[in-house]
Subunit: 273 residues, 2 copies
């Protein structure tokens, strides 16, 4: 089951001169559909607007996106919507076309499998050798230039590892290939600062909010993997999986700790995960 | 005039699930068609193979590319072919689909305007504020993740500047938005090392070869803009424009010097520019 809308109309194809293909000139959001609704929309919408502003792509109208997304979801209850905004078609060359007519692409696909076992007992992380480049201009936003993630994700295959952990070229821990990472030590929560590289996940923002709500102090910064290995608890997050404890990383095993459990419970209570 | 072939067949559209659009998961080459031929094909083909190997995309068959390109060019004499190879269609997620069926896209468009005046008297370079991120894994190859170039090229508009110069996040001179850069001092030629970021242009390789042929010694390394400003001659290169002297950069004017002229003459003699 995959259904696609392009600028509001059912479609399978897009023009080859679209700058999304030519240059990766665009942004995307991956949205969890739960009971036919998109509960985290307001977070995704905030990030999408921020990304458009950063790339100087005209921000689409929210009500148009919501109408089209509702039509796309139809009667589906549990599903995933990938929303892509590109700078639209243009002639050869990096200069933005004038006027710019962004393309809106929405892809509905089956709900990602989120095995209860991962939520309960945790996942194993592969230590990716691919390093994230440092680029503050593109850091944080969810743009379409994702070759680093493609290279990293293809370093392992099979079922032994459910996610990979990425370091930057200076060796600092940054994120997973499709998730953000947190760890806990002495009741302090830590997560990498993402102003140099990485994606500021919607679920990361929610976890930070839940931590504050639960009076768990949280620190952002740059840390080498040794800091993470010394942690008491580790977990990853994204808007499809919620929070998954990490049971194995960098040759060390971890058990699921109380802070991770507390945040999972808060997430379940507030966002029906 | 724009004609497109997708996997050898006339097309205007490509599947939305193609990973070229989804992740910028692919490579491209921009080829100059001269008298109906592609004189620099062997250089482009070498770089394309290198890029495919780096990204683990199956290398297309050269004879298929050549046949399709010949059909696309038809009777055109002066034109540009943009060749794009993507990892092809796949389901959601960064993991490469198995089997991988790469997409071959060829776009024929009108010859770029290469005014004789730029060749003769030089061009003015805009000092881009966008910095190139450092990422050795993606440096050198001509991949589809080109947001940095898009951001840089859109820093200026109008006719005052013909190209922009890009520094990396550490302030080192790297390249133009669509060209490589060289400078000359005391009969020594310099060009940035591109193992950390930047694109190793086909014309850059040709210029390096011509310099060796002309007994002009050439050094590659990392240099701040002050080194470039102190140069006697500066020029940029790409496979469509050949060699353009730089007449203005970083608030300083330059005249066209003998080394630039010598290389231009060699290029004209060997490659009919």
């Amino acid at each position: 089951m995959t259904r696609i809308l392009l600028n509001g109309k059912p479609a399978e194809h897009i023009h080859i001169l679209d700058r999304g293909l030519q240059y990766g000139d665009g942004l995307f959001e991956t949205l969890r559909v739960q009971s036919g609704q998109v509960p985290l929309w307001s977070y995704h919408w905030q990030r999408l607007q921020k990304g458009c502003q950063r790339l100087a792509i005209p921000v689409p109208e929210e009500n148009i996106l919501l109408q089209e997304m509702s039509a796309l979801i139809g009667a589906a209850q549990q599903a995933v919507v990938k929303l892509i905004i590109t700078r639209g078609e243009g002639p050869r060359g990096y200069a933005a076309p004038a006027p710019t007519r962004p393309s809106r692409i929405m892809i509905l696909s089956e709900a990602a499998g989120t095995p209860a076992d991962y939520w309960q007992h945790g996942v194993r992380l592969y230590p990716c050798q691919t390093r994230l480049g440092i680029n503050p201009a593109l850091a944080g936003i969810k743009h379409l230039n994702r070759l680093e993630q493609v290279l990293a994700r293809n370093e392992w295959s099979g079922q032994e590892y459910q996610e990979g952990v990425l370091r930057d070229i200076d060796g600092n821990i940054v994120e997973g290939t499709m998730s953000n990472i947190f760890w806990c030590k002495d009741n302090q929560l830590y997560t990498p600062d993402l102003s140099r590289c990485g994606v500021e996940g919607v679920m990361r923002e929610i976890v930070i909010g839940l931590a504050k709500q639960g009076s768990i102090s949280i620190t952002m910064g740059l840390w080498a993997e040794s800091e993470l290995v010394d942690a008491e608890e580790i977990f990853i997050s994204n808007s499809l999986i919620g929070i998954w404890p990490v049971s194995y990383i960098f040759n060390k095993t971890f058990t699921v700790g109380p802070v991770t459990r507390q945040l999972q419970l808060m997430l379940q209570a507030e966002y029906a995960f």
